[in-house]
Amino acid sequence: MNIKELQTFEHDVLVVGAGGAGIRAAIECAQQGLNTGMISKSLLGKAHTVMAEGGCAAALGNVDKRDNWKIHFRDTMRGGKFLNQWRMAELHAQQAPDRVRELEEWGAVFDRTPEGLISQRNFGGHRYPRLAHVGDRTGLEMIRTLQDFCVHKGIHCHMECTGLDLVMDDGKVAGLIGYWRETGRFVLFKAKAVIFATGGGGKAWKITSNSWEYSGDGLGMAYRVGAELIDMEFTQFHPTGMVWPPSVKGVLVTEGVRGDGGILLNNKGERFMFNYIPERFASETADSEEEANRWLQGDKEARRPPELLTRDVVAKAIKKEVEEGRGSPHGGAFLDIASRLPAEKIKKKLPSMYHQFKELAEVDITKEAMEVGPTLHYFMGGIRVDSDTQQTNVPGLFACGECAGGMHGANRLGGNSLSDLLVFGKLAGDGAADYIKGKSFGNIDEQQVQSVVRRATDILNREEGPNPFLVHEELQELMQKNVGIIRTAQELEKGIEELQRLKIDIYKVKAHATSQYNPGWNEAIDLSNLVITAEAVARSALLREESRGGHTRDDFEGEREEGLTYNVIVKKNDKGEMEARRETRKDPPHTLAGIANATLEELEGGDG
């Protein structure tokens, strides 16, 4: 292929991914007057952000005036088991309120308090009602607001266009090669900076709330050009995914159900979460049903119900109940809202949950309990970035949203992803805009382009090879079994070994027919990123010999003091092999450490 014949676009900044983080980053670039391009694998407005239900965390203090950014920061650090990048958690808590108000300015219609302000709801791990929301479809509201706003900003939005690989010039990003799903034709984007907002890699697991798009594209592409990945062992298993019928296993049930009073029961009718309260949270969690109920009624002296403990705690509790024979008929726990709220209120507060269970499981949640169990939901880890600029260790490459790591530490609080993507989407846009000042376009190396294109077309041209869909299923089985919610060295080692074998299959897969809108071919291409993502998780998990947040080792129970001293970093070494290592954490800034360890009374009220 002659590079001159390749369709080419030039953008100052190219954003890869059009979920919340991507669109927010693109808006920032466009508002600064940059020629901004954005590509997305799907149509605009379909990204996983639409699945976010509960809300967007920001210490607006509209419902409880005691709230402020310091308490949000403290909650985030405690939820992340103190492994978060301190500066990211600080920026996030400080800037989230402005980002939410800005959305309102752009047309978002959040639910209101009786005084007419943006209403906020309770969520796991958040001390005060903090999640700005729209019923249980907050993500849809956010992405639509961003989408409708961005179409007037002159952003060049290239839909159904998938990134294949970055093009490098002298160690710096010079562009990206992609292909159009519709035609299968290749396209070159020359760019001075590229922002990845590609989401996680949940599709490596069998039971997941993620769609086909979440194949770790950004992680794979960044890794191949030498970017570092951080905290990859921390994968969030959301405690409440649907477990029945089999075809919907993993589909998300919002934490809002518990925020609005829903309780978890085992098959003996016991409210088992009272038995799983970790010591760190004991002083802030109700120890009787009576107190939990008072809290729900709005008693500010009462402590929070244990169902609202962080996601890692709740997910492991459900798993344990099931293992010990107290699970629901289809291997989950019962989530009961029917006996807690009047039917009309449930339909109003949780309309899409009502709809989802009615249509997909033939369960009326206003009359019966739901059956729920853990589902792979979110990657805390991701591409390592500078906390202030979101730049990776590869010059010109930025990352934000789920594909970036560090903000959430070992476990993400619900509601902190929607705020994360707004805060860091904007900062990534700022970072890229600063970076490109005075820079011109890099040179495009023809050989790089050709090898990327050849790798993609080989899949169609080879005579025979494994079926990409079946190889994907194999990968999912392997990860579910060996790199699941509870891990051991033995299983992780076996997983890594099997991944090596599977990698060979992945390089040999064959897609039939032409490249025009061909899901088999698209799947085959995605697999090469997904397997890198899967291996990074497995290798990181093997290295962390303790249990913390979203990473649980059966052979190393509980948090170890040493575990707080390092982050696991994954990088391609000189031989082209994947290498995971522990990197010592820097001491936190004195003031931030003080806030994280302060009592609530010391922080409450005012601006903190």
Binding site: S42, L43, G45, K46, A47, H48, V50, M51, R101, E104, E105, W106, G107, V109, F110, D111, R112, E115, G116, L117, V134, G135, R137, L140, E141, R144, D148, F149, V151, H152, M159, E182, S211, W212, E213, P245, P246, S247, V248, V251, L252, Q356, E359, L360, A361, N467, P468, F469, E473, A511, H512, A513, T514, Q516, Y517, N518, P519, G520, W521, E523
Partner: protein
């Protein structure tokens, strides 16, 4: 549930045909699961769009036994045991391949709509709105852009007047802006002339197929038509405006 037979449209803009596939169907499966199984086992290159698989993203619209549906929300046990399931792409838009239609026209319509323009904030930097007032527009903002309403709209489907009518999806988008408690932009002239509110003859087909159960016609299009009427065709208001000219929303 045993073996089931599917007739799936295969082809592109140059033509095509129905292909028959027979697959095992398990309990609880929806039509989209079946398409995926066909894709994995018999036709790797069968094109279809999907994302969330929970009725929230509006990607997997298709016509299933003649009815426009989200395939992820269409359970197999809603069909008779021996019923052959016919699946084809939505018809109002040009075909790309198999079950995928080119819906880019819709994205062009959205760009034509004047953006949200809020009134100034209250003195403390907040906006205040009553829950009752926001609920009216929240109904429209539930839209997941599946374009099933566009697909069944007679004006677009049968008469192909895409140059004169933006369709139900964008009428409710307009309604969500026009009824937004903070918005100050005036879109009524364009709703009359450019977006073609008058072309809708209120057959309510759009409302019937809406998977979000939005009352597109009753709560969205009809009130917009009324606003057009009172602006342009109410003689008393017309006279008042002649005597006291001011910008009136």
């Amino acid at each position: 549930m045993g073996k089931r037979t599917f007739r799936v449209w295969r082809g592109d803009k140059d033509g095509g045909r129905f292909e028959e596939y027979s697959i095992d169907v398990d309990q609880g499966m929806v039509v989209l699961d079946c398409i995926h199984r066909i894709q994995a086992l018999h036709a790797n290159d069968l094109a279809c769009r999907w994302n969330c698989k929970a009725g929230k993203c509006g990607s997997c619209s298709m016509e299933i036994n003649g009815k426009p549906r989200l395939s992820c929300m269409t359970r197999m046990n809603t069909f008779k045991d021996d019923e052959v399931i016919t699946v084809q792409p939505i018809k109002s838009f040009p075909l790309i391949k198999d079950l995928v239609a080119d819906v880019s026209w819709n994205y062009e319509q959205n760009k034509k709509i004047a953006p949200f323009k809020p009134r100034p904030k209250d003195s403390d930097g907040n906006w205040r709105m009553r829950q009752r007032d926001v609920e009216r527009v929240q109904e429209f903002r539930k839209c997941i852009e599946c374009y099933l309403c566009q697909n069944v709209c007679h004006v677009l489907r049968d008469h192909d007047r895409k140059d004169q009518f933006v369709g139900p999806r964008f009428m409710i988008r307009l309604a969500s802006l026009e009824m937004h408690p903070l918005d100050t932009e005036d879109r009524i002239p364009k709703i009359k002339d450019e977006y073609g509110a008058g072309l809708c003859n209120i057959t309510k087909c759009c409302t019937q197929v809406c998977p979000e159960h939005i009352q597109i016609t009753d709560n969205g299009i009809i009130p917009l038509k009324e606003r057009v009427v009172s602006r342009y065709y109410d003689p008393i208001l017309w006279l008042i405006r002649k005597i006291f000219p001011k910008k009136n929303k």
